[in-house]
Structure formats: structure tokens, C-alpha cells
């Protein structure tokens, strides 16, 4: 666990320096100075600076994980750990790779949005939507801010929860994120409040939305509900090759949280994300996770089922095309009795793409009457594509019911022939079969995401992307 700095919060009320007056110059590599500079530039309280510095220490001590994907090409010295928004948006549209531009075109992403998604423009104008939404939320006592603002405006809540679900020393990349985090979302839903519409990260006005080291914290109080949606199906272009986010979620008694992400990083990116939620008595946590793009993704959304009646669910889709490795899965940790969990993982590998399901179901001693179910299905589209399944189970209790099912299939010739015999082209038939395969997850997505996801798969099948 994190050592909680013992400081009086009031002292920092006026402790923020004016970020504009500080001149930060981005440079590659990571050391204490960079971390101090980030913290100072953001005008953070001392405890946050110390949290960052401590995390940096952990990051240095921790070895690079050797399980999972191949990280041997990842050079930590070649990365910008903090880039000011103004610099980040200063890059030009000409620098954006052709295949990404084509995909925007084909997905029909509006001009203004394209630049933003490519990280070369200011955020497109959703201000109007944002403001009316904000007003609505404020009336209900809901806080929805970017993490930097949350730290300024609600330091006490941030301090109380940040790093409690994913301590900085949890793993190398969580430590890295804790040291250099910037941006991300902060959501606080008060007791009994049910947020009707999904909260979308892009409503937040913040150029650091697409940052590399986002830090997201969601607190759902008793009997409250929120659906948080993040990401988009269009490729997110970044010249920086490392994206390492941390998402921490607390769902208190009777509360429910659904977190939907679709990510499509450009092919040069390592996407190494730590996502974990704690669900308390009768609470429900659902992760809906879609991974497209990137060079390597390692992501295993977790739910710790802390008290009786807690329920966890992970629905995930991974799509690996040429030269990509999607190493994704889920973790369910049953700490308390009478808890239940469900993991549904669907992966598709195309060309030289590789997808791995890596999951853990752990049942602690004493957690009786646990129900857990794991379904992982892999679909291979080519002879050269590859899939592996690592479904770990650590069961320390006898009275449990654990189900596990795994299938690996190829697109059957019979299915292709059947669809083609109805006049459907081979590419359309292929994308129809693939869409059908992921339908159990896609139908849980907000409609526009599901439509875009299917469109993207169609583009991949036509071989016109990348």
C-alpha cells in the first residue's frame, strides 16, 4: 500500500503556482528532475509530488515483466514523459501516417475531429454539449473532471482514493504512471445518484485527453450508478510509442459501474494499462473492453470482489492484425463469499496478428459459494495468425462453482461458402462472420461504437486499412 503522506491539506489551498508562468521544456528520458518539473509545472501539492517521486523509485526497482508480450524493443530513454498540451498539438497534419488518414476518411470522421484524434489539433467543439451536461451533473452532485483539475478542486477526495486500488508499486507500469501521470478522468457519483446518460471522456475539454499516462479514478458511492465511456474506434495517433494508463474504480455497497473502452492505437504504440476495480457489498462492476491497433497491448481489467453479493464482469474483444500482439484478458479476485464473476473474451487474429487471452480467477480461502464463469473464444482468419490461451485458476476454497470454456476456431469454409452462395462477396462474408463472432460483446456497446466497430472490421477485411 501507499504510505499516506501526513500533511494538512489546507496548507495547499493556495499552494498552486500559475502553470502559465512556468516554462517546461520537454525532453526524452526519465529522472527525478523531470518528475519534479512535471509536478511543479502543474502546481501540485507536496504530497502529490512525493507520491510521484516514490513511484519513480518503484518504477526503477521493478523489472520489466518477462511474461506476456515482447517488451525488449521498448526503450524507456527514448520516450517523452511529459509533453505540454501546446507542444503536443503543435505537430502538423502532414506528420500523420497515410493509413490513419485513410481510416478517418473511410470511417467518415468529420474533418475537425480527425485532427484532434490524430493529436495534431485542439479538441473539436463539444463545448456546448459539455456545458449543459456539466450543469446537469453538478445539480446531482456528480463530479466529472479531468484528473489535473480534480486534484486542484477536490484534493481531499483524490488523496483519499488515489493509489488505494492500484498502489504505485503494483507493477512497473503502474509505478511509471504514478510517477508521470497527466490527464485522465475523475468521476465521483454521490450516494443514490444514478447518472442516466453515459459519461463520455471526450466531452471533457482537455487537450490531454489522449495523453500517454492518463490516470482515471472513479468513485461510485452506495446505490449509485454510472456508465463511463472512453476512447474511440478511429486510430489514435501518437508519435510517442508508450501509452500506460491506470484506471482505479471503487464501487460501494449496492452501486454499479460500467466502464466501456474502445481503443485503437496506432501500430507503433505499446499500450500497457492497469485497470482495477473494487466492488463492495452487492455492488456490480462491469468492464467492457475493446482493443484494436497498437504494437503490443497488455491489459487485464480486474475486479476485486471484496464483500458478499459483489459481482464482476469483463466483456472483451481484441482484434490483432499484421504485426500486432493483443495480450488481453481479465482478473477476478473473489475475496468474499457469495460473490460472482463472468469473463467473456473474444479475440480475432488476422494476418500475422497474435492474440493472447490471459486471465486469472482467484478464490480466497473462506470465499465459499463463489460462482465464476470464463468463456474465451478465439477466431483465426489466416494460416499465419496465432492465438494462445492462459486461463489461470487459483482456487483456495472447495464450495465454489467455476466454469471454463475455451474455443479456437477458423472461419469455416462452409460458412463462407454459404454466405457467398447468397451473392455476398468474400470480404463481406468474412466481416459478417467476424461481426457475428463478436456480437455478444458488441451488443453491449453504445450503438455508435458498435456501428463503428463493425465498420472498422469491414475495412480490415477489405484489406484497405494499414
Amino acid at each position: 500500500m501507499v504510505t499516506k503522506p501526513d500533511i494538512d491539506l489546507g496548507q495547499y489551498k493556495y499552494g498552486f503556482s500559475d502553470p502559465e508562468n512556468y516554462h517546461f521544456k520537454s525532453r526524452k528520458g526519465l529522472d527525478e528532475d523531470i518528475v519534479r518539473e512535471i509536478s511543479q509545472m502543474k502546481g501540485e501539492p507536496e504530497w502529490m509530488r512525493d507520491f510521484r517521486l516514490k513511484s519513480l523509485e518503484y518504477f526503477r526497482k521493478r523489472p520489466v515483466p518477462t511474461w506476456g508480450g515482447d517488451l525488449s524493443d521498448l526503450d524507456f530513454n527514448e520516450i517523452f514523459y511529459y509533453v505540454r498540451a501546446s507542444e503536443a498539438t503543435g505537430k502538423s497534419w502532414d506528420d500523420v501516417p497515410e493509413y490513419i488518414k485513410n481510416t478517418f476518411e473511410k470511417l467518415g470522421i468529420p474533418e475537425a475531429e480527425r485532427k484532434f484524434l490524430a493529436g495534431v489539433g485542439a479538441q473539436y467543439e463539444s463545448e456546448v454539449v459539455y456545458h449543459s451536461l456539466q450543469e446537469d451533473l453538478e445539480n446531482q452532485g456528480v463530479i466529472f473532471l479531468d484528473m489535473d483539475s480534480a486534484l486542484r478542486e477536490h484534493p481531499e477526495i483524490v488523496k483519499q482514493y488515489m493509489g488505494t486500488i492500484i498502489p504505485p508499486n503494483d507493477n512497473k507500469f503502474a509505478a511509471l504512471n504514478s510517477a508521470v501521470w497527466s490527464g485522465g478522468s475523475f468521476v465521483y457519483v454521490p450516494k443514490g445518484v444514478k447518472v442516466e446518460i453515459p459519461l463520455q471522456a471526450y466531452f471533457r475539454i482537455n487537450a490531454e485527453n489522449m495523453g500517454q499516462f492518463e490516470r482515471t479514478l472513479i468513485i461510485v458511492e452506495e446505490d449509485a450508478y454510472v456508465h463511463y465511456v472512453e476512447g474511440c474506434t478511429a486510430p489514435t495517433y501518437t508519435t510517442n510509442s508508450l501509452h500506460s494508463a491506470v484506471v482505479e474504480i471503487i464501487v460501494k455497497e449496492g452501486g454499479r459501474c460500467r466502464y466501456t473502452t474502445i481503443q485503437n492505437w496506432s501500430k507503433n504504440t505499446y499500450n500497457l494499462v492497469t485497470k482495477r476495480a473494487a466492488a463492495y457489498k452487492n455492488a456490480t462492476m462491469e468492464w467492457v473492453d475493446g482493443n484494436l491497433g497498437s504494437k503490443l497491448t497488455m491489459k487485464y481489467p480486474a475486479v476485486w470482489l471484496m464483500e458478499p453479493g459483489a459481482r464482476g464482469e469483463v466483456l472483451s474483444v481484441a482484434f490483432a492484425t499484421d504485426d500486432m500482439h493483443q495480450d488481453a484478458g481479465a482478473k477476478m479476485v473473489h475475496v468474499a463469499p457469495n460473490t460472482s464473476s463472468q469473463i467473456i473474451s473474444k479475440s480475432i487474429s488476422k494476418g500475422t496478428g497474435r492474440s493472447t487471452y490471459r486471465g486469472l480467477v482467484k478464490v480466497h480461502k473462506g470465499a465459499s459459494n463463489v460462482k465464476a464463469n470464463v468463456v474465451c473464444d478465439a477466431l483465426l482468419l489466416d494460416e499465419s495468425s496465432r492465438t494462445d490461451t492462459y486461463p489461470y485458476m487459483e482456487i483456495e476454497e472447495e464450495q465454489v462453482s467455476i466454469g471454463h470454456e475455451a474455443t479456437v476456431s477458423k472461419v469455416a469454409e462452409e460458412q463462407l461458402f454459404y454466405l457467398q452462395s447468397r451473392g455476398v462477396s468474400e470480404a463481406d462474408a468474412m466481416s459478417m462472420i467476424v461481426s457475428g463472432f463478436i456480437e455478444p460483446v458488441a451488443k453491449e456497446l453504445p450503438l455508435e461504437y458498435a456501428v463503428e466497430l463493425n465498420r472498422l472490421i469491414q475495412l480490415e477485411m477489405e484489406g484497405s486499412v494499414g
Binding site: 469454409e413 454466405l419 452462395s421 451473392g423 462474408a429 459478417m432 456480437e439
Partner: protein
């Protein structure tokens, strides 16, 4: 209109994994004709249907299959369907996660293609598609819920057969092969499906009904009947041939024929 037959099979030798199953099949079907192809289990009826439809696993050793005078053997299954050919499968395939309606919309549009600028068929509007689907489902007595069910998933044998005819009704082919479309149907379903097929038969389209039972032919009246034995059409005639077959059985037909040389 030319007098080129709509559909012709010439001296077709074909099979699978190097093994010859069809040993020289000849068959000509003109517009407006209904033909029945009968024969015992394993005689090669479905093999012929698959090869005509373009199943990639089958090999053709010799011969041609002509549709509107064009050799279709080099074409993909999708192209053949786009030309107006259709096969109702003996064993329809399940496609998980793909709803009947979504699939049919794509199929109908694929077959219709882009507007050809000559007053030909063109893409169907969503509203028109829904109307058409509802109408055809009613005609075949298929419950509306099937539109949102996944293609053939969990369908009973009879439901699958009906779904095949629904697809045929939606795609409006000019030439349809129906492979054992009525086997496995209960009496009521047999009546609904055959009534449906009779309604679809507009006098200009052509059909090839594959069956090993004469029963179907009481409901859909063929103009011609062919008997297939061991990969060859050994006898052809009018509707009376079907009755003769029913009375004699395939064994007798076999023994009446001089051994094939």
C-alpha cells in the same frame, strides 16, 4: 431473347479429394421449366448442386456448367448468385451472431448490385426491405421473431428448410436448385413450403428439385424427371417417371439398366 438454354450441364466429371463422384452428367433446363432430380442416397445429387453453386472444395475434372450460355465454373459462388442462381441447401450452415434480417439485407443488396442504369434491379431501401421481408415471412408462415434470430442457430430441421425458401423468396433468383427442401418437414410445413414455392414459380424462372422421395412431387409438379445413379443421369422422362420410380424402387431401375460401361 435467344434460344440458349438457361442452364446446361455438359459431360460433367467432378468429385472431391481426387475421387470422382459425378461421372459424366448432362442436363439441360430451359426458362419456365421445373425439373426433378431423383436418386438414392449417395448417388451424387448434392455434389452436383454444390458444384453448380461453386463450392470451393469440389474439383471439376471435365465438362462445363453453363448459365445463360456462360461457363460459370471459373466464377466464385457470389458471382453465380449475382447472376441469378440460387441453391437451397440440404444442410444449411449456422452463422452465430448474424441476424437473419441483417444477412438478408446484405444478400439482397449484393444480388441486386448497384443501379445498372438500364432500369435493372438496384439496392433496396430499408423500409422496402422490411416490408418485403414481413410479406415473405407471412407467406411461408415463419414467425416474425426469426428476423432477429441468428442465422440457422438453434433452428429445427424444418425451420432451416423454411428459412432457405425465405432466402430464395427474398433473392428472387431466375434459377433455383432445392436440395431436399421438403425432407424433414411435417405435413403442414410441407404444404406451406410447397405453396410458397408454387407462388414463387412465376412461369419464367426455372427450378431443379432434388429429392429421393416422390412425395414432394405431389405438391410441386415437375415438367421433367431425371434419375441419378452412381454419378450419372440414367433415365429422364415426364412426371410419370416419378410414379414409376415410387412403384419400382431404385433397385429395379438399376437392374433394368445394362451395366454402365
Amino acid at each position: 431473347m435467344s434460344d440458349t438454354p438457361l442452364f446446361q450441364v455438359e459431360n460433367l466429371h467432378a468429385g472431391i479429394e481426387g475421387e470422382e463422384i459425378l461421372k459424366g452428367v448432362d442436363l439441360t433446363i430451359n426458362r419456365g421449366e421445373i425439373h426433378a432430380l431423383m436418386g438414392p442416397n449417395g448417388s451424387g445429387k448434392s455434389t452436383l448442386a454444390y458444384i453448380v453453386a461453386g463450392h470451393p472444395n469440389y474439383e471439376v475434372f471435365e465438362g462445363r456448367v453453363l448459365y445463360k450460355g456462360e461457363n460459370v465454373l471459373e466464377m466464385g459462388a457470389d458471382e453465380r448468385a449475382q447472376l441469378g442462381m440460387f441453391l437451397a441447401f440440404q444442410y444449411p450452415t449456422t452463422i452465430p451472431g448474424v441476424s437473419m434480417a441483417n444477412f438478408l439485407r446484405l444478400a439482397v443488396n449484393s444480388v441486386r448490385g448497384e443501379d445498372d442504369g438500364e432500369g435493372g434491379k438496384k439496392r433496396i431501401a430499408p423500409r422496402e426491405f422490411r416490408r418485403m421481408l414481413r410479406e415473405k415471412m407471412q407467406m411461408l408462415n415463419i414467425d416474425e421473431s426469426f428476423a432477429t434470430r441468428y442465422l440457422n442457430e438453434g433452428f429445427s430441421g424444418g425451420e432451416k428448410k423454411r428459412a432457405e425458401i425465405l432466402q430464395m423468396a427474398m433473392l428472387e433468383p431466375e434459377f433455383a436448385i432445392m436440395d431436399e427442401t421438403v425432407s424433414g418437414l411435417d405435413i403442414d410445413a410441407l404444404r406451406t413450403v410447397s405453396e410458397g414455392v408454387n407462388k414463387l414459380y412465376d412461369g419464367t424462372m426455372a427450378m431443379l428439385l432434388i429429392t429421393h422421395y416422390q412425395r414432394l412431387l405431389n405438391h410441386i409438379k415437375p415438367h421433367y424427371v431425371h434419375v441419378m445413379l452412381e454419378g450419372r443421369i440414367v433415365q429422364s422422362g415426364g412426371p410419370e417417371l416419378a410414379e414409376e420410380l415410387e412403384a419400382k424402387g431404385y433397385e429395379q431401375i438399376r437392374s433394368e439398366l445394362t451395366p454402365a460401361g
